[in-house]
Every structure is written in C-alpha cells, then in structure tokens.
Subunit: 343 residues, 3 copies
C-alpha cells in the first residue's frame, strides 16, 4: 500500500492543503497514527488530535477550522467519514483485485467459467458447474457437481460447496465454510443402531449473502435449505437441514439453528444462541447472545433473552431477582421463624 | 437426474398405472410438486393432494383407492414410504458413484490403496497409509502418515486426518472435519507461561460412524480417543483428548466433550451442550440442548436439562418457578409488610 | 516407532537393568502395557503394576526398590516422570521431523522461504510472503499475500492465513484454523439491508502461540487483532475483529470473544464461554465454562461463573438456592395461608 496525497484526493474528489507528493503506506486511527499514515477527523470531539498526530495525511471536513498550523497534508472533503469509508472500499477493491487462472487446478471439461474471473491454484471445479462472470475463487476451493455460482461472488481459500447447491450474485463466502453437507437425519432401528436417511435436497443461497469462516450449512433432506437475499452470517454458525433464513437477517458467531426452522426477515440473532427445530421466528425479532429459543416467536419486532428465552424486559427482571435469591431464601426463613414464634 | 416411470418401477418392484414413459427430473413433496416431479403418498391424511398435485409420477400404496381419475402416472407398491426412501438411497448411490483417481494428487509410494476407490484431485495420502477397498476420498483430503481407513468409507472434500489415526469400515466424514489434532494439554510453569505436553496418542474411529462438517476430534495424550461403532456426530462438535464415545450415541451440533470423559452407549446429546472433563455419562442418557454436565451421570436412561444439569422434570419445574421470581419477591415483601404491621 | 532399551537409555541418560537389546514399538500406561510397550512408574501408589505389567521396558526412579524380580528391562533415572515426558517430546520431534518441499505446490516467485523447512504438497504461498527458517507447512495450507511467518512455526494441513497477517516465532496452528477472515461489520441501511464495512486491518500473532483446529480469528476493521505471546487457544474458538488476547492466556474450546474486547494476561477462559464486545477482562481472571460475560471485569485474579456471570462463590450459592425454588414457592404459599388464617 503506497499512495500520494494527490492520488487519494483524486479518488475522493478532495482539495489538498499542503504537499501533494507526501506518501502514506498505512491507514490508522488519528490517535495512533505514525509518519506515513493516513488518518481522518470527522468528530469535532477529537479535534485536539489534529495538533498532536504524526499522520502524514489527514482527511477532514471542508468546514473544519484550524486553531494552529499543522504539519500533515490535509485533504478537505464534504464528509470526512464517508469519504474515508469510500476510500477504504476502493483500496480493498484494488488490493483484492485478483485475476486469471492459476495452475495447477482441476476444472472439469463440462464446467462453464465466466469472464473476468480469478481461479486460484488447487481449486476443484466439478462436472456441470457454472461460475458466472467476475467471480473470485481463491485457492483450495471445492465446487461439487452441478453447483451454480452467480456473478461477482468471492469464495476465499478452502470453501467447500457440495453438489447441486446454488449460490446467488454478489455473495462472499469465507474460508472453511461448508455448504451442502448432509443433514443430520437418522432413523432409529430396533437394535439401537441408526439408519441414515438419504439427504437428497440442496442449499440455495440468494444474492448479497455473506457467510463467515468455518460456518456450516446442511443440505435439505428433500427440497432446499434456503438463505434469503442480504443475509449476513458470522463465523462457526450451524444451519441445519431445511432451515430457511429470511432476507437481511444477521446472525452472530457460533449460533445454531436446528432442522426445518424458519427464521424471518431482518431478524438479529446474537452469538452462541440456539434455536430449536421445526419452529418459526417472526420478522425483526432480536435474540440476545446465548439465548435458547425452544418455541415459535409469533409477534414481530420483539427482543428476547435467556435459555429458555423470555421477553427481554422480563428476563432482565428475573436475572436481577435471581442475584438476590439466597437473600430471598433468608427472608422466607425469617418470616417462618417469626410466624412460628407468633403461632 | 432423469428417470422414466418404467425405470423407477423396476427399481422398487412396483406396478405402473398410466404412461410408463413419463419422465421426472426432480423429487418433491406431493403438495409442492410441479410437472416433472416424483412424489409419494403414504399417509391417507394427505389424500386430497392426489387430485390437485402437478407431480408427473406418484408412488402410492397398493390398497390406495382413487375417488377421481388422476393425470399422473402411478406406481403402486406395498409400502409407499419405504419404497420412496429406498428409491432415494438408490438414487444417491448412483449420483454419488464416483470412481477413479484424479490428477494431480499426492500418493506416497509406501501407501496402499485398495480396489474400486475414488481419489479426488489434490488429495494427499502420506507414507504407510492404508486405504481399503470401495472408499471415496473427495478432493483436498489430507491423510497423514500411517493412517488406516477401512472399506467403504466416504471422506468428503477437505477432511484432515493426522498421523497414526485409525478409521473403521463404512464411515462417512464430512468436509472440514479434523481428526487427530493435538489434545489441549499444557503444563503451567512458574513464570506464568505454559509448556506443551506432547500428545503422542491417536484417534480410533470404529465402524459405521458418521462425522459432521468442521467437527474436531483431538488425539489422545497417550493411548486413544475412541469413537465406538455406530456413533453419529453432527457439525462443529468438539471432542477432546482421551474422550470415549459409546456405540450408537448421537451428538447434535456444536456440543463439546472435555478431556478424558467417557460417554456411554445409545446416549443422545442435544446441540450446544457442554460436558466437563474426567466424568462418565451412563448409557441411554438423554441430555437436552445447551445443557452443562459437570459431574458423572450414573443412572442409565434418564433425561437431563439445564446448566448445571438437573433431572429434566426438576429442571422444568424450576424454570417455571423462575419465570415467576419477581412476583415471588413481591409476595415475600407483602408478607413482611403484613407481619410488620401485625408486629 | 521402534527403539531398543539402549537407545532410550542414551536419550535420557539412564542406567539399564536387563537386556539392552529389547525393543519397544509403542508407549502405554503401565497398567495397559503389552509386550513391546514402553511404560514408566513414578508414583509409588502404582508400584504393584511393576510386578504384573507386560511392558517390555519400564522407566523407574533410581531409588525405586524391587520386591520381586521383574521380566521387563528397567531404565533407571533420577525422575521417571520428567524423563518420560522428555522422551515423548524427543520422540515427537523425530516423528514429526519432516523436511523438503513436496510437489505440486504454488510458491509465488516473490515469496521468500527460509532454510530447513517442510512445505507439503498443494501448499499455496502468495506474493511477498516471508516464511522464516525451520518452519513446517503441511499440505493444503494457504498463505495469502504479504503474510510473514516467524522461525520454527508448524502449520498443520489446511490452515488458512489471509493477506497481510503476521505470525511470530514458534507458533503451532492446527488444521482448518482461519486467520484474518473479515470482521463481521455491516452498516444498517434505511431499506433494511446492510452495507459491508471494509475490513482493512490484519491479525498479529506473537511468539509461542498455539491455535486449535477450526478456530477462527477475524482481521481488524482497522489496525490489528492481536494475540499476545504464549497464548494457547483450543479448537473451534471465535475471536472477532480488533480483539486483543493478553500473553499466556488460555482459552478452551468453542468459546467466543466479540469485537474490540481486550482480554488480559494469564486469563483462563473455560469452554463455550461468551464474552461481549467492547469490554475488558482483568489479568488472571478465571471464567468458568459456559459463562456469559457482558461487562468489563476490573478486579484481577477473580473467578466468575454463569450467564450473565457473577463472582464464582455467589453464583454457586444462587445455583444451590435455585435448585430449591419450587420448594421456596411452596413455603411462601404456606406463609400466605397461615397469615390469611391469622388475618
């Protein structure tokens, strides 16, 4: 990473004050910045850092007044925070702009790969796979038979997609995620053993979904496990067979959703939560971390906590009372003594 | 997938009513079926779907009477559910029937690979490995030095088996599972650092075990971590060093078992449960999801819930009372006021 | 594994009693040992096993007296336990002593690889990567652009390190671990969708850190996610963006730490614990398994349990009282009846 003030200013339509040839090689918070750093100041609360920072370039608002002269080169823009965010996005686009097909790889002759793609070395692309334009498939990815991947997807190193699964456009899947492993279905036999139930369905992931590292999504027993448009999944999440996650739902790390459960749209699930099977969660529900949901939530836009979960406010009251439990027990004992005496 | 009614009927010894040349290309529930779908009807409760479904072929019981004429081709069998399940198994066998050794691969010259196997591209098979007949090893699998894998096993893409581990016959291991990583053993030193304890044991997995995606099973410090015959493990499970899981035990996703603990036979562990180290769990115990087991369970065939876990019925009673805790506190306060007044 | 008594005795500076040519091919506990096993006796409590074991070689203390003649060859040392541990370490060093660069691999021409390394087949080493001397990189590892790995590290099969991350000296990373995946950061939009916040930071792992199988460590949004010297992480752990873990802290399996949280030095986190974001945990804190920490812990060297966590002793008292809750409710009812009668 190495940019001049001039280059940065051009990217974000800014106005330079100072040396346009100054060069930065890293991005930092203004309070941590060293020489060669780019930083920004948006919140007037942090203005004092302007006069002490060692940053080489600072992005600031057009209307930011200066109380003292400053060593750094300034780039003035309408909204420093927005411009800075935009800059990081552009920077990441440049930095992650991989192209071409690395060797060795395994691309089955019946697979179709679109234009302007990156296929990392050691990638396996099975029979009848379709990968559309502008995808980046990092090394060690496994894409099983008949899988279809939409335009503009990124699969980081070592993603595994089993046969017949479908990925929409603009999805990002992180390393080690497994899509389409068998649902956990076994029929108990009379002798105590279990007979595997064939899992012949698939997983369908709609557009703009992000899936975290080492997250697992099982294929449906029959039909599809479905992840709707705009869903964001963190790391190490387990979604079981025939689950459906509604659009724009966000799930934090290490949460598990059991088989055939339907989570609504715009739901927020905290980390390490567990959702039982064969239930449904209403739209806009907010489930606290480590909650256990063992029955359907029918009312929309409510907050839940605890295991088993209760409405958030009730759960908070219960937790407060619970912390006084030993004291409550003593008070009961006092009352009993008192009544005994009276009696 | 494309089959005629004639082909399906032959596979399940059925009798055709209608056009034997009708073709299906997918399998659906009777209520969701479209043209080109195969469905089945076993439960008379759903008989009305027979007359509205768009399925092209329906498997039904020999004794199913029809109230109206039906457009679909029927295949009559003794037990529609059993025949349908059988059909799916046969279909999966055909669909997943991979053979041959793909290139590039790394098979050490001292490794022995049996007959009728599938070895996917980018598979690594280390020195002295033995892989018996009829195994399917999908791409990107890593099989470390001296590992032995029995007949008829399937390892999906990206399974990792460390050196010296032993896998029985008929096992299925899903993508990203790690078998034989070091046990988590460190000796605390006087200066606050930790000294690694060498983990020289292995993992032994008996026959007919299924292991879910991204599940981890650590090798023993000395001796073996043992997974007995017929055990079924879901995704993202952690089994620590020197654990033993008894035969036909089933463990749901994201559960963890700590070091040296012995879980009995035919136990059912719900998801996200945690089992402490150095304890034992009696045969046929049933542990609810999110439970925490911190002491041995000695009585067989009991149900447990909560963290720390209690017998299921007790735990349910406590949870009900807990939801009334704030109210109970008020009642105590009322009593105190009343007695104060009386006093 | 095959060693003579003479070879073992030389390694640990022992004195042989019996046949120096006796050969062992495995290591066992003295009570389980079979012919061809090496065992040790350190604790006098187990002395009786000396006379019944089938072990071929036994390491014992210099001052151990024998009540009867023994068939096994003895190797006498000052401290049998220490010598045995040392032997296992030396054995593991020999056993895991891989060298050389296997084919096929992908090593970018701009990458620098040190001396005396092992690079397994199918390893991917990206542009500008630096790998220092004495590293062992097992097959299927992915090392992204600009990553730096210090001397003497071991990466087991299928480790994934995203671009720009830094690994110190003497680190061990187990299979399937993912270092540097994107932090889980999304800005909610007015239409209910989420806009991805670019994650441009990295992960910095200091010296002597061990990371378990399938553990995930996200890169910082800006700056670094930092794992300090001597940290030991078990399997399936989630560390979110901008987390900092203090030196010599130990974290058990399946625990999660949310974004921007700072865990102190010499902390012990039990398994399946969850730590909220943007808080700090004091040095030497001990957090029980399955705890939920939702606020900062400021006092050092305290023990915590429960979710939400409380000081350990308080939590234990509450749990005991909780198990009597239904009984407490009955006692309140009795009091009410009594007072009603009195009233």
């Amino acid at each position: 990473m190495q940019f001049t003030a001039q280059q940065i200013s051009t990217l974000i339509n800014g106005t330079i004050e100072g040396d346009p040839e100054v060069t930065i090689f890293q991005v930092s918070r203004i309070e941590d910045a060293e020489q060669g750093s780019l930083a920004f100041l948006a919140n007037p609360k942090y203005e004092h850092h302007l006069y002490s920072t060692k940053a080489s370039i600072i992005i600031i608002n057009n209307d930011q007044e200066l109380l003292k002269p400053i060593g750094a080169t300034l780039i003035r823009v309408k909204n420093a925070y927005t411009s800075f965010s935009l800059l990081l996005e552009k920077y990441n686009l440049i930095r992650l702009d991989k192209h071409g097909i690395e060797e060795p790889n395994f691309i089955h002759p019946t697979a179709q790969v679109g234009k302007n793609v990156y296929i990392g070395a050691f990638t396996y692309i099975g029979p009848n796979v379709v990968i559309e334009d502008d995808c980046k498939i990092y090394p060690h990815s496994y894409i099983g038979d008949n899988v279809r991947i939409g335009t503009g997807c990124t699969l980081y190193a070592g993603v595994r997609i089993y046969f017949d699964c479908i990925i929409g456009n603009g999805c990002i899947i992180h390393s080690g995620a497994v899509i389409g492993s068998d649902g956990f279905g076994f029929a108990p036999q009379e002798d105590g053993t279990y007979h595997k139930v064939s899992q012949i369905g698939n997983v369908v992931i709609e557009d703009q979904v992000e899936i975290g590292a080492n997250t697992t999504i099982d294929r449906a027993t029959m039909g599809s496990t479905i992840i709707r448009k705009g869903v964001k999944l963190d790391n190490l999440i387990q979604l079981a067979h025939n689950v459906e996650i509604g659009s724009n739902t966000v799930i934090a790390a290490q949460t598990g959703v059991s088989g055939s459960t339907k989570v609504g749209n715009n739901v927020v699930l905290g980390g390490q939560a567990g959702i039982a099977g064969h239930i449904s969660i209403a739209n806009k529900s907010q489930i606290q971390a480590q909650s256990g949901i063992n029955r359907s939530i029918e009312e929309e836009d409510k907050k839940w906590a605890g295991s088993p979960a209760l409405p958030y406010a009730s759960q908070m009251r219960i937790q407060v009372t619970m912390s006084r439990l030993p004291e409550l027990e003593k008070r009961i004992l006092e009352l009993e003594k008192l009544l005994n005496k009276q009696g």
